[in-house]
């Protein structure tokens, strides 16, 4: 009889993640990109920098979904998933900020320009830093989980405003914002799509993998502590 494994223990999606990443790192350098002024060869950063944000966004969505789930189920496992999703999303958020600064230094002349998109993401990082501070400030487990779940809903909504809405309303140097044409207008041609989409899939799955490993580690830790 075949044993059914939970999704966190199955390998097929982890293999897809690693194949996508290996492909991204080969085709990302060798594939054809449109020759754009100012950007030149750095347009390839799209494959590496933007994927960090996609991964962060997916993990933050997991955070808010499991936060809401916790509020309805009161199951401590849901809270654990939400917390670890937020932790993993911070890794990708910081990676996105740092890679963005390197790229901005080349194309915009400074690592930090006064751009609503940049300030918005910095504010988002602080919002999620506050999520962990809130968690550490409350001692009562149930109270902590409940407060964190409610806060994560606000944090997610503010993140959407900071990253998705505000930069579109005001002027931003980022493509697709403040009257700038989006990447899909002419930059992101079909050749780049062939690398960009697998890159997003790969990095997102890696983020989920890191999250699932952390959750499993925490569960082992918990059951060990219970035995003591």
């Amino acid at each position: 009889m075949k044993k059914t494994r939970p999704i966190s223990h199955s390998w097929w999606w982890k293999v897809i993640a690693l194949v996508c990443l290996l492909y991204t790192y080969i085709a990302g350098f060798l594939g054809t990109v449109p020759a754009m002024p100012i950007l030149n060869e750095t347009i390839r950063n799209l494959f590496f920098h933007v994927c960090m944000w996609m991964s962060m966004f997916v993990l933050m969505t997991v955070n808010v979904v499991y936060g809401i789930r916790y509020l309805s189920t009161n199951n401590s496992y849901d809270d654990l998933v939400a917390e670890e999703a937020a932790r993993a999303s911070m890794v990708f958020g910081i990676a996105g900020l740092v890679t963005g600064m390197v790229w901005a230094n080349f194309t915009w002349g400074a690592p930090w320009v006064n751009d609503p998109q940049l300030n918005g993401t910095a504010a988002t990082m602080l919002l999620y830093a506050a999520y962990f501070i809130l968690r550490n400030a409350v001692n009562d487990e149930a109270k902590k989980s409940k407060l964190a779940a409610i806060y994560s809903i606000f944090a997610f909504a503010m993140m959407m405003v900071f990253i998705m809405v505000l930069p579109k309303l005001t002027d931003s140097l980022h493509p697709g914002k403040g009257g700038n044409p989006g990447f899909n207008k002419y930059d992101l041609d079909s050749n780049m799509r062939m690398v960009f989409y697998p890159a997003v899939i790969g990095w997102t799955l890696i983020g989920v993998w890191i999250m699932s490993l952390r959750i499993r580690f925490r569960l082992v830790e918990q059951s060990y502590l219970e035995k003591l």
């Binding site: 223990h9 097929w12 982890k14 293999v15 897809i16 690693l18 194949v19 990443l21 290996l22 492909y23 790192y25 080969i26 085709a27 350098f29 060798l30 594939g31 054809t32 990109v33 449109p34 020759a35 754009m36 002024p37 030149n40 060869e41 050749n191 062939m194 690398v195 697998p198 890696i206 993998w209 490993l213 499993r216 580690f217 569960l219 082992v220 059951s223 060990y224 035995k227």
Partner: protein, 73 residues
């Protein structure tokens, strides 16, 4: 088996990237010299090492889970 077929189709689809000529100043000379392959090789090695590391980490956590489970019963 069906899954393997899907994965294979996916990979072959991805590798069908077409090559075109360019006009704006790009690192074409770098490519013509074949030095780009050094970069690609290094990047591929890095990602392979991360992959191996992640897989080993996964196995380690699985082993821990097994140990805890066996001790409980």
């Amino acid at each position: 088996m069906k899954l393997l077929k899907y994965i294979c189709t996916f990979i072959f689809l991805l590798f069908s990237v077409v090559l075109n000529a360019q006009s704006v100043e790009m690192a074409d000379r770098f490519r013509a010299d074949g030095k780009i392959y050094v970069v690609v090789f290094v990047a591929a090695i890095v990602i392979t090492f991360i992959a191996v590391y992640m897989v080993r980490l996964d196995f380690k956590v699985s082993r821990l889970e097994k140990m805890i489970k066996e001790k409980k019963h």
